[in-house]
Subunit: 251 residues, 2 copies
C-alpha cells in the first residue's frame, strides 16, 4: 500500500485525485490547495488542507502546481527524508527544493478538467535519484496506468519540445486549415477523417515514410498556385514548411 | 441502377473498384488502364480494357488518373452526352476536355493500396454543371458512402490547400517530433496518445480554443530555452510558428 499526498488542484491533480481514489493498493491521504473551497467536495474521500505546515506523513508527495511555483512549494515540504515529485514536463528534477528525495511523475497528455481521463492509455514518464525510488514511482504509476517509461530530465526536456511540435504546432496547422475553410464556406468537418487518418498513420510507418503531397513530390506548379491563394502569414508558413519537407533528410 | 466505368487503376481507383463491386444498385461495367496486366485479376467481376476506344456505354465515367493526365484522357472520351468526372482534389472541373457533361467525384482521404478503406467514413466532395447531374453523383456516392458534400471548384481548391496544412504539414511536425525523440533515445510512441488526443480535440472545440503551450501563454522563458536546443532548420520553424500562434487573431 503506497500512501500519497497531492499538492495542488489544477487539471492534472484533479484527474490524479479521481484515479487514485479508485485505485487499489493506494491510500490518498491528503490534498493540499491554497483555496480550500475548491477541494471541499473531496472531504468524503480524503483529508484536505490549505496549509503546507499541516501536511501528513506519506510515501510520496506529488506537487502538481504551475511550473513557476514548483521550487517554492517544494522548499516548504520539510520532512527530512520526504520523497517529493512534480508532474511537469518541462521542469528539471533538481529544481525541487525539498531537503529529502526527489523525483518526477509526469503523465504526458493534454488535460482539461471537463474531459474524462483514461490513465491506462497515458504514458507516465518517471525519474528519481535512485533505483529504489524509481521502482516506488513505477509501482505508484501502475496503480492507475499501464504505460511506464523511465525518462531523465534531459530526455524529458526534449520530449517537451517534441510535444510542442506534435501538439501545439499541429493544432496551429488545424487552425490555419480551419480559417481557410471558414473563409470559403467549406465545412471544416470535411477534413476530420483526413486529420484522424494522418494521426494514426504514423503509428504504423515513420512520419518520414508517411509523407505525401505537393512538397514531397516536388510538384512546384501546385505549390505556386497554393502560395498565390494564401494570406501573407499563411504564405510564409507554407513556404518554410514546404522547403523543409523538400530538404527532409538534411534536418 | 447506376452504371459506371472507371478509367485508371491507381490508389483511389483500386479502392473504388472494390467498393463499387460490393455496392447495391450499382453496375461496375468496365475498368480501363494502360497496362492491362494490373487489372487482369478483375476479370471475374468486370470487363477490363486498355483501349479508350473500346469503352462501353455507362451513366458515369470516373477518371482516376494523375492530375496531369486528366485533360488528355478526358478528351478521348468521345460520347456526345457522356458524363465524365474526375476524382482529384486539385484539378478544376473545367479542365475536363470531353464534349459531354462534366463533374467531380472527389473522396477526400489519403489512400494507399495496402490499407483497407471504409468509404462510409470518407467525405465525398461532389460537383457538376447542373443540378440533375449533381443528384446523380449524390446517388452514386451514397451507394458506397455516407458523408456527401457539394463543393465547387474554387472551394475544392481551398480545401486542398487546407488539406496540405492539416495533413502534409501536420505530418512534417510529426517528423520533427520523431527526429527530436530519436536524437535523444526517447521512444516516439510516448507521444502517440498526445497526438491522437490533439487530432480528436478539434472535433469538439475549434482549433483556436484548443490551443495550449508556451506560445499561447506567452511563456517566453520556455520558448527561448526550446530554441536554444533545436537545430537550425527546426529553430526557424519553431520561431515562425510560435510567432504565428502569438499573433493568432491577425492571420
Amino acid at each position: 500500500m503506497i500512501s500519497v499526498v497531492i499538492i495542488g488542484y489544477g487539471n492534472v491533480a484533479h484527474h490524479l485525485v479521481e484515479a487514485f481514489h479508485k485505485a487499489k493498493n493506494l491510500h490518498l491521504k491528503q490534498v493540499y490547495t491554497r483555496s480550500i473551497k475548491t477541494v471541499e467536495h473531496l472531504k468524503p474521500i480524503t483529508s484536505v488542507t490549505n496549509s503546507l505546515e499541516l501536511l501528513v506523513k506519506a510515501d510520496v508527495y506529488i506537487i502538481s502546481v504551475t511550473d513557476d511555483a514548483i521550487a517554492k512549494v517544494s522548499s516548504q515540504i520539510t520532512g527530512k527524508n520526504s520523497f517529493v515529485v512534480h508532474t511537469s514536463g518541462s521542469v528539471d528534477m533538481n529544481q525541487l527544493q525539498n531537503n529529502g528525495r526527489k523525483g518526477v511523475f509526469y503523465p504526458l497528455q493534454s488535460f482539461s478538467k471537463e474531459k474524462k481521463v483514461d490513465f491506462s492509455t497515458i504514458p507516465f514518464c518517471l525519474e528519481a535519484e535512485n533505483n529504489k525510488d524509481l521502482q516506488l514511482l513505477e509501482t505508484l504509476a501502475k496503480t492507475i496506468g499501464e504505460k511506464i517509461y523511465r525518462i531523465n530530465s534531459l530526455q524529458r526536456k526534449q520530449l517537451h519540445i517534441a510535444a510542442v511540435f506534435v501538439n501545439n504546432f499541429v493544432n496551429h496547422m488545424y487552425k490555419i486549415g480551419y480559417d481557410i475553410c471558414n473563409q470559403h464556406n467549406v465545412p471544416f468537418e470535411v477534413l476530420y477523417p483526413l486529420i484522424e487518418e494522418t494521426s494514426k498513420k504514423i503509428q504504423h510507418i515513420t512520419p518520414d515514410k508517411a509523407q505525401t503531397g505537393p512538397a514531397k513530390r516536388n510538384d512546384n506548379l501546385t505549390i505556386e498556385n497554393h502560395i498565390k491563394m494564401l494570406k501573407e502569414e499563411q504564405k510564409n508558413i507554407y513556404k518554410i514548411l514546404t522547403n523543409s519537407i523538400k530538404n527532409g533528410e538534411k534536418l
